[in-house]
Symmetry: D2
Subunit: 307 residues, 4 copies
């Protein structure tokens, strides 16, 4: 318990900004909260209270630029910066305001090649409901797929074991589930939590560094996952897998691709582990059931298509 509290933002590259804004606004039902002079567009899920959680910028190639976890306060940020440096990682301070409505960020590169950040400050703008006598939702919160929050990311790259060490030893995460590699002597994929969510971040071993498998958005129910699938079809979104249940995490899912080919997930359910829980292990030969519980099918795209 180091004070890392949740995944707070991810910056993703898209091929056509206007098309992507339309997609994330009208189809995903995210709320656009701002644009900056670098041309970036900022979104949040309706039930998130901080200013932004999902940021896109136009580029020639899809993928993820960086992601950030919010920490408890600035003192925690300072401490974690020291801890990361003591561990041997190089850190950079990104200035406050470089990301809209966001304070200073401590940035570092993970052994898997992903750029990660910690930050303590992001302006709270609320979820559109009053702070006194709020309803459970409101009309605008039903527009599009309308997930309640950015839930987690799955990232692909080399050296997953080294990432795990940093997350466990420096950042205070615990290992919730894992898939063994074919030889059974290491981990092909790991699911880590800094809370009692079944995962706040996950990594899978992959030869190329810095790859994005998917950003996951939380839905409130299995019926809402079905509705998300309906909306995907109505809008000709390319669906990868689902609706189905994962064996790993017990969560229910649809994987699909945004117009630039970035995979995203509409996710719900799963159980709630705690730091004192023993890690659950999936054997390589049973990964198919871990991925798609009813079908027990190892979808090729899951293993090979990343941005």
């Amino acid at each position: 318990m180091t004070g890392v509290i949740r995944p707070g933002h991810a910056q993703v590259r898209v091929l056509d900004l206007d098309e992507s804004v339309r997609f994330y606004t009208d189809v995903m039902g995210l709320v656009e909260t701002g644009r900056d002079d670098q041309g970036r567009v900022y979104f949040k899920c309706w039930d998130e209270r901080d200013h932004n959680s999902y940021i896109i910028r136009e580029a020639d190639e899809a993928g993820i630029d960086f992601f950030g976890f919010k920490v408890l306060d600035e003192a925690t940020l300072d401490q974690l910066e020291k801890d990361l440096q003591a561990y041997g990682l190089e850190t950079t301070r990104m200035p406050a305001g470089d990301l809209m409505e966001t304070g200073e960020r401590v940035r570092f590169v993970l052994p898997t090649g992903h750029t990660m950040e910690l930050y303590a400050t992001k302006t709270a703008i609320g979820n559109g409901l009053p702070m006194t006598n709020p309803g459970p939702w409101y009309e605008a919160s039903e527009k599009g797929i309308a997930p309640v929050r950015l839930d987690h990311m799955l990232l692909y790259g080399p050296n997953v074991a080294e990432n795990k060490k940093i997350f466990e030893e420096v950042l205070g995460f615990f290992l919730v589930e894992r898939v063994l590699n074919e030889e059974g002597d290491g981990e092909a994929a790991i699911w880590l939590s800094c809370s009692h969510k079944v995962h706040d971040i996950a990594f899978a071993e992959y030869p190329e560094p810095g790859k994005l498998h998917h950003c996951s958005f939380l839905m409130d129910s299995w019926e809402q996952v079905l509705r998300a699938g309906d909306i995907m079809s109505m809008n000709e979104v390319n669906v990868d897998i689902g609706p189905t249940r994962h064996g790993i995490t017990r969560g229910c899912t649809i994987y699909a691709w945004d117009p630039s080919g970035n995979r995203f997930e509409t996710f719900m359910g799963g159980y709630q582990p705690y730091p004192d829980y023993e890690t659950i292990t999936w054997t390589f030969d049973n990964f198919a059931q871990g991925l798609d519980y009813p079908q027990r099918k190892l979808h090729e795209t899951f293993l090979t298509v990343v941005t």
Copy 2:
């Protein structure tokens, strides 16, 4: 409105009787209600009130022997027998008791090569709940997948257009939905109702006669379809498609195979059409969306794997 009220029974061939009894009892959660001296085993879904709806017999090849629709009473049966004969179909009376707890059946062969029956009498044995102050369900009704009833069948064979004429003109069904063939000048598949279910029976054009695509069992909710998928995985049932939503009928589904390779469906939802409703048409080029609404994927097995 000719007095045909619902699909009442289907007799299906299995390769290994004991294994199949275990499957339909423990995994599907059907209730075994009897065995006869021909070696047939009779089942019903827990919430059905008549003695049997699903009958299996051991054979060298999987598939469907025949299926039957219940009619209102014996007078209706007599009238429909005459109407079928007047239409030009040869009918046979199967004696009462040939099928356990079932009265006389009027049997005939459809142009698609399927043996169909009408009958008016089957002993009511109830659904396990009292007729006075019943609860909505009971503990044993949750065993296995536990569908509430045999819902419909999809059958493959040639001459679907001729079947349609019999169902519409003699048996009083109406055409709820249809898929056009590639040329757009005929129907590749039709969904027919004798009630206000979105389908009581369906046919698809196929070169070989008398083929079974699937028998469908009704679930109470989308959550129960997910639970069915869990149970399939726990019991290593081979799943074909789903969980997903059909565009056609709006129903939600998992297709899977019994141990002999007979496909079955766990189904819920859809809308409730009436005889005055205009038929909904799916174009051939959009059949993928009709089959698997979120994925818009034309699963090859759906078109080619039958028993």
Copy 3:
């Protein structure tokens, strides 16, 4: 099976037309389809295909003017008119067009004092989805509570036993469930079906004739019933009972009142009975469980508040 197919319309009196139009449009999410020179406003549920199902007019007192069932065709209407007359009921033909987009209606007064109609023709205007390759729903279909159809009515009045005779013997309904009176020698309430819905209409014994207990609107799921309750609260609708499950019919429900005090129900579920099903009986002493299954509570308002 006489050709009566479903409850097709109900005309209800409201105290303030503008307020009621706002309520039925914005809160209930019905679709306004027309107004006539008598000042009536016509609505339909989004998934109904006929022009109207729920009609309101301004009056000094809330309540129901009449309700109508659709029959298969004009020949059926003629036959049923003769059958009603032969039974001894006086019938009146209401001219085509008197009710917007509706053909001739055969009107008669039931022993409980309710004005009932049969009709064969109402213009089909569709549900807002195309007849070719339709999606399962669309954005506007999620506005407000948005039930899929007018499902049934519960009416209070004297002489329920005489009503039952007409519905069973002339109109071809069957008795699905019933509550015995305190003495156990008659029925306090009856649930009747002309289809395989668990009820198309229901009556309860009450000293005053012609009273409306509620019109019921169908929801697609238990989650949609919860959402309906949320919307009621957001709009300060007075809720009577629920969300809960009925023991009777197994259906799930919220009862609430429109701004004029007319009770309505948002309903889902229940089982699907057929004409060959034995009637289920609830004893008077257990009516509480029949009404509110979890709470087993005999809500006083259910017995006494009608319009």
Copy 4:
């Protein structure tokens, strides 16, 4: 973030042990895990991994003896003990093994008169699923109401403001929601979290100290809450409120009483707050909507019936 991780156990008094064991086993579907020489019976929810979470003992009066929160490790326990003492609270060490399969507990009495404990050690016995390739549930996990875990407690007593100070300043909880008192100058009730659950514990101002309002058990879905209500009715459990949604926490609920009159809750949903979230406030005049969102009804029993 002090290392308090979750509510781990509650010890509740029952009037008849055998009847209560039957109730908690057969109706609630808890798993009995042991009995000790003091005559106490230990239960856990199926998906909990530690040996026990709910303990009952026979007594002349219903109510709660004590409840305990698990902390990260023994060092955390030592630190929190010191912090509590430094704050001015008297603490007692309960010896390891006094509670079955549980290590030393640091016990203290809250200003509301409730006995609270912290502990770091309880034997993990698992949830009945393997640690390698587990399914999402198993047959025995569906027996009875079968909640997944002990979720939180609501306790009634005086001096709630003093409790809040201890939970916020010493134990590291944050205030998620609160109801103002009638005068608006203090809090009538508070909901506190040590995680990102919408509440790990709650207190309401009440003249008598040490009172139990309810222990809450987590269900997986709104459909499971309905099923819980069905089971309550089948077993003649006295239901207090629900099924319904709370405005406070957005959670969905049924309140009912065990055979001794101890209220319990079957709960699901709600949102997931974090320590950086601003507290939500409910005004006294709108507490009815906070309690029962659809009905906006201030159930008298909620305010007055405790054990």
